[in-house]
């Protein structure tokens, strides 16, 4: 497919979708959103780009193998279990780290975010894997 309108739109929509994915990921702790939806949105941006241009090009540009995304994502999930084990809490219980940042104020970093991040990357990896396997038949 070679549509100029789609190609120009894809460039901007790609950036917007990534931004939106990040928002969905970050607000997911207390509001609708989270790693799964964020991951789908982020993967969607690349898939949209691939449809507008060329799947093979996108694949070469990505450089990273989809399986690696999955592995890193799952690794982050396991990593998020470790603080709860070290603090002798029940497994997967949230552990929060408070960081003082000079101008912005207090920042709370917690294991639930690490878990969400893991889900985010896993979903991206799985969606890429689907996409590349389905578009291979040409």
């Amino acid at each position: 497919m070679n549509s100029v309108i789609l190609q120009i739109a894809a460039r901007y929509i790609k950036a917007l979708l990534v931004l939106f994915a990040m928002i969905a990921l970050l607000r997911g702790h207390n509001y609708p959103g989270g790693g799964f939806i964020g991951g789908l949105l982020a993967a969607l941006s690349v898939i949209y780009y691939g449809f507008a241009f060329n799947v093979r090009q996108v694949r070469e540009k990505l450089k990273v193998n989809p399986a690696t995304y999955i592995a890193i994502g799952l690794f982050l999930v396991v990593l998020s279990f470790i603080p709860s084990i070290l603090n002798q809490l029940e497994l997967m219980q949230g552990v929060w780290l408070k960081v003082q940042i000079p101008v912005l104020g207090e920042l709370k970093l917690g294991t639930p975010f690490l878990f969400d991040m893991g889900v985010f990357l896993t979903v991206i990896g799985v969606t890429f894997l689907f996409f590349f396997s389905l578009t291979k038949v040409e």
Binding site: T68, L74, Q93
Partner: protein, 493 residues
């Protein structure tokens, strides 16, 4: 206690390592080491359960009816241990048997995700969580069945997937009704509500939906058609894994549900389960006797043996439940072993059809011994494990004056013996017929036979120390039938 979640976490970590792995040898070694670790872990868990009675973990600190709870009781720990033994044996077997096929490294990823699903199903204390583990198992087993990408594997895999998805649908429907009526899905909380409720007969609708769901998983009488249609198509390594684990998870779920909270309306349910058990035994045994493909004979025998386990549940005395658990343990080990031996016969001769092969007893007497052990165990010849399993069940049925099912059980044992003798006569005793397979002269190394030797030894030991194993299963059965200690431990009263 974190150790409760380790049977799920260890396969999970192994999956991550195996996804990245690019080297075949590394994957194989990792899987053997990892499954050995699982075996050790399951032994530690068994020891702890022996001491404490229950291991309970409230995930993320959410207290029991609200969060997801992982519970290991006596029965779960026994099942975990046996499944780890099988996984260890299959990991060794795969080391030699999977070489030519493409993407073998991917095999190990799904191998461990299947084990994660099985272990998760054994230790979860939450009905919805059980559904999730069933799905994990279903997806990974579908990938494993269609692993060789041949046409018949795809056909078998689609039949398998379609019928099991139907089972999942029934599971989900039953689960929805259960939640609608009681407002909880925590097994202990459900038991607490349903055991003290006089309207529990209203639960029959969801109980029958669960019966269909687990019946499809466990391959009982009217719902078993997916099993013989799919098991013989998969690679023999994968078939032997499935034979040992998949249907038994269905049986486990049956025993868990129908001892813990579906305990109302016993007159109907136990009669019903006994009828189903009788038909499952007879039809499985008879269908097996007409086939000449070793894998098909063994697949039908999986079905007939499931009947014995359901029979134990149907009689519902402590002795009968203990017998059902004993039988499940014995069957998981012996069944996997027969499939492994069938794979070795194939490796030696190049065919699964009994008409094509023969004369193995002269060519490889060790393999003949390795076949005799699990075959006699399945048929129930003393002093190997199967005899005691069947003896306990038949004694329990006569004690409780269920004479018809006792007669059926004895007849099915004869049918099993007949099939095993058929394989023995055709593959081992008969002279090798003149055909394209007669030239085959592969030799088997010790490593090929090691998994079968391990499982065979366990079968024999289970026969010799039957009283010891029986003590454990009896404790498990008492714990299941009593039920209140489960409820109190999980709900922390």
């Amino acid at each position: 206690m974190t150790i409760t979640a380790l049977p799920i976490l260890i396969p999970f970590v192994l999956i991550i390592i195996l996804i990245i792995s690019r080297s075949l040898v590394f994957s194989k070694i990792t899987s053997i080491v990892g499954s050995f670790g699982l075996l050790i872990l399951s032994m530690i868990i068994f020891y702890k359960v022996n001491k404490l009675g229950f291991l309970v973990l409230n995930m993320a600190g959410w207290k029991s009816p609200y969060g997801i709870t992982l519970v290991i009781d006596f029965m779960s720990s026994l099942m975990l241990m046996v499944s780890s033994v099988i996984v260890f044996a299959i990991a060794i077997y795969a080391y030699r048997s999977l070489n030519e096929e493409k993407q073998v490294t991917k095999f190990y990823v799904f191998f461990f995700s299947l084990i994660m699903g099985v272990n998760g199903a054994f230790i979860t204390g939450d009905v919805f969580n059980l559904y999730v583990w069933f799905e994990v198992m279903l997806i990974s087993s579908f990938v494993l069945i269609t692993f060789g990408k041949s046409k018949e594997q795809l056909e078998g895999g689609i039949k398998y997937l379609a019928l099991n998805l139907l089972g999942s649908l029934f599971f989900l429907a039953g689960l929805g009704l259960l939640y609608g009526k009681t407002g909880t899905l925590n097994m202990a909380h459900l038991a607490d509500i349903l055991r003290n409720d006089h309207q529990a007969i209203l639960m029959n609708t969801s109980a029958i939906l669960f019966f269909i769901a687990f019946g499809i998983k466990a391959a009982v009488f009217p719902l078993f058609f997916w099993l013989p249609a799919s098991y013989h198509t998969a690679n023999i390594t994968i078939s032997s894994l499935f034979a040992g684990l998949l249907t038994k998870v269905g049986v486990y779920a049956f025993i868990r549900f129908f001892t813990l909270f579906f305990v109302h309306d016993q007159a109907f349910w136990h009669q019903f389960l006994l009828i189903i058990a009788g038909f499952t035994m007879i039809i499985g045994g008879m269908s097996a006797s007409v086939h000449y493909d070793t894998r098909k004979i063994l697949s039908y025998h999986i079905i007939s043996q499931i009947g014995y386990m359901i029979m134990g549940l149907g009689i519902y005395t402590p002795l009968a439940i203990a017998g059902a658990i004993f039988f499940t343990i014995h069957n998981m080990i012996a069944k996997t072993n027969t499939f492994i031996v069938a794979g070795l016969i194939y490796k030696l001769k190049g065919s699964f059809y009994l008409k094509d092969v023969g004369g193995i007893i002269k060519q490889n007497p060790v393999l003949a011994i390795l076949f005799v052990i699990p075959a006699f165990a399945l048929a129930g010849v003393p002093p190997i494990s199967g005899f005691f399993a069947k003896f306990i069940l038949i004694k329990a049925s006569i004690d409780d004056s269920h004479f018809v099912i006792a007669i059926i059980a004895v007849l099915t044992a004869l049918l099993t013996l007949y099939s095993m003798i058929k394989i023995w006569n055709e593959a081992f005793l008969k002279k090798q017929p003149d055909n394209e397979f007669s030239g085959q002269n592969t030799s088997l190394s010790f490593l090929d036979m090691l998994p079968s030797i391990i499982l065979g030894t366990i079968s024999i030991l289970m026969g010799i120390f039957a009283f010891k194993v029986f003590d454990f299963t009896m404790q498990a059965a008492d714990q299941l039938i009593e039920g209140t200690s489960y409820i109190n431990n999980v709900l922390n009263r």
